[in-house]
């Protein structure tokens, strides 16, 4: 069923609603996306900042650490110097000494030695290998000298270097000169050659080294620590006299995987939620549509049920009423909604509604039963009950559904119509009776009036004694004849009024006509012809009545035959067969004047007569009889004789068994 039209009126502005929802959803989606993007950006920024901060922190830590370790080294050297002053060793390098990390780091302090005051310049005091290394570049000696000078001059440890290699490139060796004063008196300087690379590598802890590449650079050249993400951090070593930095380069920026993963999962969840929301919405829409359809259908069904006049009753096999509509309630005269759940049939219900009734349990398709239903107010209602089995989807019969149609109105109108018809017929009969009476009165008036006149005249004479018996005799005889005439009229009426039941039998029309007309055979001018074939023409007829018809027609023909202009009266009678219409035709023709055209219509009417003294009943009765035999009587002009020709057409009978 197509409910689209109904639904359009049923749903309130669905497009507007959905559009609003759509906009809302879209806005929400936009918000979510924006927040996700913002979150990502913020996270990135935060991470970067964090990374930077950590890097700076690491760098600063390294810087401090370096500074601390070198200070310690200086302390160690100072301690060495003090030792050297206290007991000048033969071999400075062999002295067992527990120093700081740098001091104990193997390969960090390449060489160290004490140079008391008055000694040669420290550069001249060096072992030959160092002599060579210093000699590798001319600037190295100066640098060493100036370092010692600076240390002495500033009275604090000073660094120099790095020592240049032969090709002019700076190496990693740095000189450290620590002056030693005792009670304000300069005693000497302790010099150490440090392999800075090794120092730095020793200083950098493992965890730092995992994340960064730590490299020693000399003279950062305006190093900008925060130049960019990838820019290495330059931590100044703060070794006075040198211009060295530790460069920290992040090995690879390992982004924090876990928060990202969390974010991803959250986004995934969000997306999933959005998808679920969308699916939910779609489902809701579908549900709404289905609900609207259902509502429409329910409304339609309710309207249908309320509009029909047919009472509907559904009940289970056990007779429990499952459903009854309003029309049924009206018929039964009770509230339909309260019927549900009751046990059917309620008292006063027709037996046809009980489940055990044969009409109800008939397996045959909807049977119709007429029954009388008792309304709650006691009034009887004619109903037409249709029953049909109520089956479930699985085909199992649950009960019966009956439609109950109130046909009392129809019945009443039928009864009324029948009554009307009856009255009409009665009045028709009355009219006919009136006509009969009128005609009868006229017919009877004549002889009775004359009779009365004769009788009164006779009485008058008798009173005046002016009559003799011989004079009275012809008058009395005349009176007797008149009374007879009146009696014959009454007899004819009786004959008409007496309605005979038809007692049909199979007759051979040919033999029958021959038999009936046998009495006329001797009359001059009468000729009875029979069909050529000797086969009998069977008709189913009441012998006596048909005889009356033929005799009446023959009598009429004989009466009129003599009144024609063609001289001697002639009457032809015969039987023939109309093959086309399968009718047996008995015809009677005469050479009389025939029937004038203006009388043809009336000739078969009752009480119409052109004969003197005729009551006009003969042909009317003939026609009634013939029509009772399902035949008809036809009037024509005989082509041979020129007079009237009456043809009685009777349906041919084909007997199954020959009588």
């Amino acid at each position: 069923m197509d409910f689209a039209l109904l639904q359009q009126q049923g749903l309130p502005h669905p497009s507007l609603r959905s559009r609003r929802t759509l906009w809302l959803l879209l806005g929400l989606l936009l918000l979510v996306v924006a927040s996700v993007v913002a979150l990502v950006l913020y996270l990135q920024r935060f991470e970067q900042t964090e990374e930077e901060r950590r890097r700076v922190a690491d760098g600063q830590w390294l810087e401090h650490s370096t500074r601390f370790h070198f200070s310690r080294l200086e302390e160690d050297l100072l301690a060495q110097a003090r030792q050297a002053v206290a007991a000048p060793p033969a071999s400075a390098a062999a002295a067992p000494w527990q120093g700081g990390q740098l001091w104990s780091e193997p390969g960090a302090v390449l060489w160290h030695g004490w140079h008391p005051v008055g000694l040669r310049r420290p550069s001249e005091d060096l072992p030959p290998e160092w002599q060579q290394r210093i000699a590798a570049h001319p600037a190295n000696a100066d640098m060493l000298a100036s370092t010692g000078d600076i240390a002495v001059g500033l009275r604090r440890p000073a660094y120099g270097g790095p020592m240049l290699l032969a090709d002019g490139r700076p190496g990693d060796v740095v000189w450290l000169a620590v002056p030693f004063f005792e009670r304000g008196e300069y005693l000497g300087v302790y010099v150490a050659a440090l392999a800075l690379d090794t120092c730095v590598q020793g200083l950098v802890p493992t965890w730092l080294r995992q994340q960064h590449t730590v490299r020693l650079v000399s003279d950062g050249g305006g190093a900008v620590p925060f130049a960019g993400d990838a820019a290495p951090y330059l931590a100044p070593m703060n070794l006075p006299g040198t211009d060295l930095f530790i460069e920290m380069t992040a090995l690879s920026s390992h982004p924090a995987l876990v928060p990202r993963l969390f974010l991803l999962v959250a986004i995934l969840f969000l997306l999933g939620m959005l998808g679920a929301l969308w699916a939910l919405r779609r489902d809701m829409g579908k549900r709404q549509r289905v609900q609207a359809m259902l509502q429409t259908e329910v409304a339609l069904r309710a309207a249908m049920e309320n509009s029909v006049n047919v009472g509907l009753l559904a009940r289970s096999d056990q007779g429990l009423i499952l459903y009854a509509n309003e029309a049924f309630g009206r018929i039964a005269g009770c509230d339909a909604t309260r019927l549900a759940g009751c046990q059917a049939p309620l008292p006063d219900w027709p037996a046809e509604l009980t489940p055990a009734h044969p009409a109800a349990t008939a397996a045959a398709p909807p049977s119709e039963v007429e029954a009388v239903f008792r309304h709650a107010d006691g009034q009887n209602i004619d109903v037409l009950i249709h029953q049909a089995p109520l089956t479930s989807a699985t085909g199992q019969q649950l009960g019966w559904i009956s439609s109950v149609l109130d046909i009392s109105e129809r019945k009443r109108s039928q009864r009324l119509a029948a009554l009307q018809q009856h009255r009409l017929e009665a009045s028709g009969r009355l009219v006919a009776m009136g006509e009969v009476a009128s005609t009868l009165a006229h017919e009877l008036n004549q002889p009775l009036g004359a009779l009365s006149s004769f009788a009164n005249g006779l009485l008058n004479r008798l009173h005046s004694h002016s009559i003799t018996l011989p004079e009275a005799q012809p008058v009395v005889e005349r009176m007797a004849r008149l009374a007879e005439r009146a009696g014959s009229i009454i007899q004819r009426v009786n004959a008409f009024a007496r309605r005979r039941e038809l007692s049909r039998q199979v007759l051979d029309a040919t033999a029958f006509v021959a038999q009936v007309t046998a009495s006329y055979q001797d009359t001059p001018g009468v000729c009875v012809s029979s069909p050529d074939g000797s086969a009998p023409l069977w008709v189913l007829a009441d012998r006596l009545l048909l005889e009356h018809v033929v005799a009446n027609l023959a009598g009429n023909a004989l009466d009129w035959a003599g009144r024609g202009t063609t001289g001697t009266p002639q009457v032809h009678m015969g039987v023939s067969m109309d093959v086309e219409r399968q009718e047996v035709v008995i015809h009677v023709a005469d050479n009389g004047p025939g029937v004038p055209d203006d009388q043809r219509e009336h000739i078969f009417n009752a009480f119409f007569s052109t004969k003197d003294g005729g009551m006009g009943m003969g042909l009317a009765i003939c026609r009634s009889i013939v029509e009772a035999h399902h035949g008809r009587i036809e009037l024509g002009r005989d082509p041979e004789l020129g007079g009237a020709r009456f043809a009685v057409c009777l349906p041919r009978h084909t007997p199954t068994t020959t009588p």
């Binding site: 009128s438 009165a441 006229h442 008036n445 004549q446 002889p447 009775l448 009036g449 004359a450 009779l451 009365s452 006149s453 004769f454 009788a455 009164n456 005249g457 006779l458 009485l459 008058n460 004479r461 005046s464 002016s466 008058v475 005349r478 008149l482 005439r485």
Partner: protein, 209 residues
């Protein structure tokens, strides 16, 4: 006066004979006719003088109906009263016939002696009519016998003028007027001016001749 005082016209011989026998028993001589044309032919003889008679006629007859016969009779200026006999259902026809000047009608079946009584009344009435007709005829003849001057005087008299005024109007002497007046009275057979006016009034009422 014709010998038959009662004419019976009916196409039914039994009725005809019965009525004849009935009237005969009451001392009236009746003539019977089988149809309207037969009757008309018999009474329409130009030489026949209308006498005192009554016609009893069936209203339904063939081929000429009672009403048609009556019309023809009227055309012949027959003065006889006509009494129709009607069957069942012909009453309205008979009523219209009475309105057209028929004497009366009787519906069948009737009391035979009542019929005879009605016929007797009709005869008496017819006789009176005949007498009235005679008087009228005589008066008309007398009027015709008046001279021109007498007519003039009569007209003045009928207007109710005195002799003197009549004399003035006609330019004759009063004595001459008296002479004419006496002549008029004598000729018309009246004795006073009042009777004269009465007579002439009746004449005018009876259809002005």
């Amino acid at each position: 006066m014709t010998p038959a005082a009662i004419h019976i016209v009916d196409d039914d011989p039994d009725i005809r004979d019965g009525l004849t026998w009935l009237f005969d028993s009451r001392g009236y001589q009746a003539a019977s006719w089988a149809s309207g044309p037969d009757f008309l032919q018999a009474v329409g003889d130009p030489g026949l003088r209308w006498g005192n008679a009554v016609v009893v006629m069936d209203i339904r007859m063939e081929p000429l109906s009672g009403l048609a016969t009556f019309e023809k009779l009227r055309a012949l200026q027959c003065p006889w009263p006509v009494l129709f006999l009607t069957g069942h259902g012909d009453v309205s026809m008979a009523v219209s016939a009475v309105k057209n000047g028929a004497w009366d009608f009787l519906e069948k079946p009737f009391q035979d002696n009542q019929l005879v009584d009605r016929v007797e009344q009709a005869l008496v009435a017819a006789r009176a009519q005949v007498q009235l007709d005679e008087q009228t005829r005589q008066l008309k003849a007398a009027l015709q016998s008046l001279s021109l001057r007498e007519h003039e005087v009569l007209a003045e008299l009928l207007q109710g003028h005195y002799n003197k005024n009549i004399a003035d109007h006609l330019g004759i002497t009063q004595r001459t007027v008296e002479f004419h007046r006496a002549n008029i009275f004598d000729k018309l057979g009246v004795s006073s001016a009042v009777e004269l006016a009465h007579r002439l009034g009746r004449l005018q009422a009876s259809g002005n001749g």
